[in-house]
Symmetry: C2
DNA sequence: CTGAAAGCGCTTACAG
DNA sequence: CTGAAAGCGCTTACAG
């Protein structure tokens, strides 16, 4: 049987199906495996021509180092964990896509780890995950990212992690991605004021969620800074769910003294407002203006399409993952992402 | 400084923070590391009392074998890859949750790998992913699962994989999970016939998707088996997207000879029908009955809530992952999941 | 700038 | 049923 030989050198054994190892490269290049290792790890202690020769060979052979072997020797895998406790599918998927954008061709892979922050043993579950897999880094996504105990556990383990948070927080061990939810809510407030609304109601997420607190504060403060205000009775705390949005809207729209606009902490609850308005015979936006938060696909599926605050989730995920795999412990301790309002058809000046 | 000693033996060194290794266990148990290895791998070649003694010790110490080291020795990691090319967030997330249900406490982890089946190099991308990570197994999710070339590549690599498919297919190398989309569509047809509809239209997904073909066939055949039929002009091929649903609905609802009911290949397109109906002043379900497919969250967010076919995606993911990690190449080559109709408020008898 | 030795924590192949 | 030796494909620590 004729052996296929490398067109370039003639010395490389026929492609046997078995991937090349560091030993193959070292032998073929006539250097020690340690030199190959230095090249793999971008050590400066390699002569330029040696490096170029070996790199060319690695490309020709299609060599990539075995992450399992590297991981064993490094005592650390090439896996990035994404830890989250969030029911919104689009948000999670966008975050994953973003992370994968950053990880593509980096040699790192993304391992997903949803958890339930309300269950007592969840921190231990994350610890086992991180420790056993010897993760290279962990992305903490809201609301899991808000749990200081989780972050403390990770810091104690000495594993690097990023926290994606609606606002700044004091954490020396973390790399932070701040999403500035306040700004998005403020923009919504400005928009409604500009349209002429004065009687505005809020349906907020649970006050145990920082995102809910931030969005509410951002909205109320922006209103106040322009002379507006929201009476307490016009603020209803709901649960970020469709059903809770329905319940809140029923309260707000029951009497004859209805608000002319409602700002919702997310799109799900805004959809709940739509449902109640439809049932009640109220026309959006003629009788009632509505704004959501998330700019989920739902926003454009509703009729009329929903004005909402876009969060740039994919960018957020990309930045968070990049901070984890970037070489060195260099700067970039805090990154920022800012939301912005996407205007659609759910608002108009009050009657 | 007082050393903490094991209450049980007094011989175990204080927990130093460093996880125990197979050598620690062997030494402490007074057996060879090979015996510990046999126990880890459930070999029958271990005396019962030896096994129990060692297992108790492992539990006490909190020992879990290092997947990196095992992977290196096995030449195979403990990672399951999920390969998909699907834009629907909820579907992907449900599939992931299902897979994670199966993987929980199994020692395996889930690595996600979205891809673009229309890009030319995507199969090579999956190959590199599978080969470099030495994946233990791969889950192929629609529509990537429909690509025979992808499956062939995996078979050639000798890696085990599951294909989740709308219908049966001939693939000796795969473990199959058949979702029987036909049955769900047939149930929708029966329901509309029972309500009294005779002039029914279809908005289908792209005919290049097996799911679209199956759903259409299932619907049309069920109609035919009860004496009904759908004229060609009443079947519009769309793209599974909201926008394409809008365009299709505009055609169907333009003239005065409107159908009394529309069956859509997914919920996204059904939302498009809603939009056009709203805009046109048609009332659902009074003037028009609508059925979707997916039973996505969108279905209950729309008003009136959408009758739709539920797919049991999480179960599907759980079964597919289970087939991958189940020991041995035992039976269970094909599993089945069946959809069913969830009746809500979007249908009623025709006027 | 380069390399030979030892080791990461497991398993395979072989011997008993 | 049990174990000593060699090896998986890399890196660290040390020497030159």
């Amino acid at each position: 049987m004729p052996r296929k030989t490398s067109a370039a050198t003639g010395t490389r054994p026929a492609s046997t199906g078995k991937p090349a190892t560091i030993n193959d490269i070292a032998r073929l290049a006539g250097v020690s495996k340690k030199t190959v290792s230095r090249i793999i790890n971008n050590s400066p202690l390699v002569r330029k021509d040696t490096r170029e020769k070996v790199e060319a060979l690695m490309r020709e052979v299609g060599y990539t180092p075995d992450p399992l072997a590297r991981g064993l020797a490094f005592r650390r895998s090439f896996l990035i964990g994404m830890v989250y406790d969030n029911p919104t599918a689009q948000y999670i998927v966008d975050m994953q896509y973003g992370a994968l954008d950053a990880l593509r061709d980096s040699g790192y892979e993304l391992v997903v780890h949803p958890c339930d922050t309300r269950s007592p043993g969840y921190i231990d579950g994350v610890r086992r995950f991180v420790q056993q897999q010897k993760l290279h880094g962990v992305m903490l996504v809201p609301r899991a990212s808000e749990d200081q105990n989780l972050a403390d556990m990770l810091a104690e383990l000495g594993v690097r992690y990023t926290r994606i948070l609606p606002m700044g927080v004091d954490d020396q061990d973390a790399r932070l991605v701040v999403t500035h939810d306040r700004d998005g809510a403020a923009e919504a407030a400005d928009y409604l004021l500009t349209l002429g609304h004065r009687d505005i109601a809020l349906i907020t997420g649970p006050s145990a969620y920082r995102s809910a607190v931030e969005r509410t504060a951002g909205f109320v403060e922006a209103l106040a800074s322009r002379g507006g205000s929201v009476p307490k009775a016009r603020i209803i705390e709901a649960g970020y769910t469709f059903e809770s949005g329905v319940a809140a809207a029923e309260k707000l729209l029951a009497g004859k003294k209805r608000p002319t606009a409602i700002f919702c902490g997310n799109d799900e609850m805004a959809a709940g407002v739509y449902k109640v308005a439809m049932r009640t015979g109220l026309s959006i936006p003629r009788d009632l203006s509505v704004i959501g938060f998330d700019d989920s696909p739902l926003a454009s599926r509703l009729w009329p399409s929903l004005t909402s605050v876009r969060r740039h989730t994919r960018d957020t995920g990309r930045i968070a993952a990049t901070m984890l795999i970037r070489a060195g412990n260099a700067p970039m301790p805090v990154a920022s992402v800012r939301p912005h309002l996407v205007v659609r058809d759910s608002c108009q000046p009050p009657a």
